[in-house]
Subunit: 187 residues, 2 copies
């Protein structure tokens, strides 16, 4: 059995996204993804359990990354500021990736199954933010809503960032999303 190769994983991810963008998620097979990445179907399964998970590769690291960002926020930061710092950190990973994110977003929007998986990912991120806020001493009844608000802000910012096609920074989009949320809630 060959060892795990990061190049192969990256090729599988790119192949899966490109094929799904071309033919739609439902029509694409593991064999096609493996073939385009230049490996066998059998080797594919050494990297991913199924074709859905290729499209979410790396997302299992997100909860830990956002939790670390919440913990790293200044002690003086309000709960929402700490949660938004985490959102900004995830958003920074998207710099120069607006086009890739646009393709991925379109692939997900076309599949109920992928939307479900995406919601699971978002819920895990929100739970990680909430738990990290509680560790910071925020009471649970406040940590949950704070994490949810930060998650909404992230999602709105992501939409605006992708729509801008690289013409705006994620931070600009996040600041705008927070301003809209403040206004919505205040009125």
């Amino acid at each position: 059995m060959a060892r795990w190769d990061p190049g192969t994983e990256e090729r599988l991810r790119a192949a899966a996204l490109a094929l799904c963008a071309e033919h739609g998620y439902d029509a694409v097979t593991v064999a096609q993804i493996a073939d385009r990445a230049g490996i066998t179907r059998r080797t594919f399964f050494r990297y991913f359990p199924d074709k859905r998970e290729v499209l979410f590769a790396g997302s299992e690291q997100l909860p830990r990354a956002v939790a670390a960002a919440v913990r790293a926020a200044s002690a003086a930061a309000t709960p929402l500021a700490a949660a938004l710092a985490a959102a900004a950190e995830v958003g920074a990973l998207l710099a120069d990736r607006a086009e890739h994110a646009a393709v991925r977003r379109a692939v997900i929007a076309a599949s109920a199954e992928l939307q479900e998986r995406e919601r699971t990912k978002v819920a895990a991120v929100a739970a990680a933010i909430r738990d990290a806020l509680v560790e910071r001493g925020v009471e649970p009844g406040r940590a949950g809503p704070t994490a949810q608000v930060a998650t909404i802000a992230f999602q709105e910012a992501f939409t605006a960032f992708v729509d801008a096609g690289g013409g705006r920074t994620f931070q600009e989009c996040l600041d705008e999303a927070v301003a809209v949320l403040r206004d919505v809630v205040a009125t």
Copy 2:
């Protein structure tokens, strides 16, 4: 083929929830649910496509109900007030059902598959609120976040309402959830 019978549907719903609470969702079979409801496995499938959907029976009507409530809100209502009116309307359906809701919540919390289904339901409700707000003339960039905030408020209120075991009204819980959200966002 016998006609559709609301009594049978209700018995199936109660049987499914009780069995899942006793044995856990994964361990329960369609045959067991049908048996407890006094029908055949074959008849079960005239009512529901699988055991998961029994636990979400009626939820397909929620998006239309919340959209109607948003439309019915006073013309003077702010976007958030209109969205919260919809949340209150759904919450009112829960009066005298706190115990039932507690059992259902525990069943869902114990299953990743049911949590996924629940998130799909919540997303459909949020989308219905957003679309109804747009119909009221709210700009889309504001309707989305408003619907999301109302959805969070609903979920927080639901948790508090169920935790109180019938000791508080849903509206009280909703008002409190909104107050927390205002405070979170303002600071």
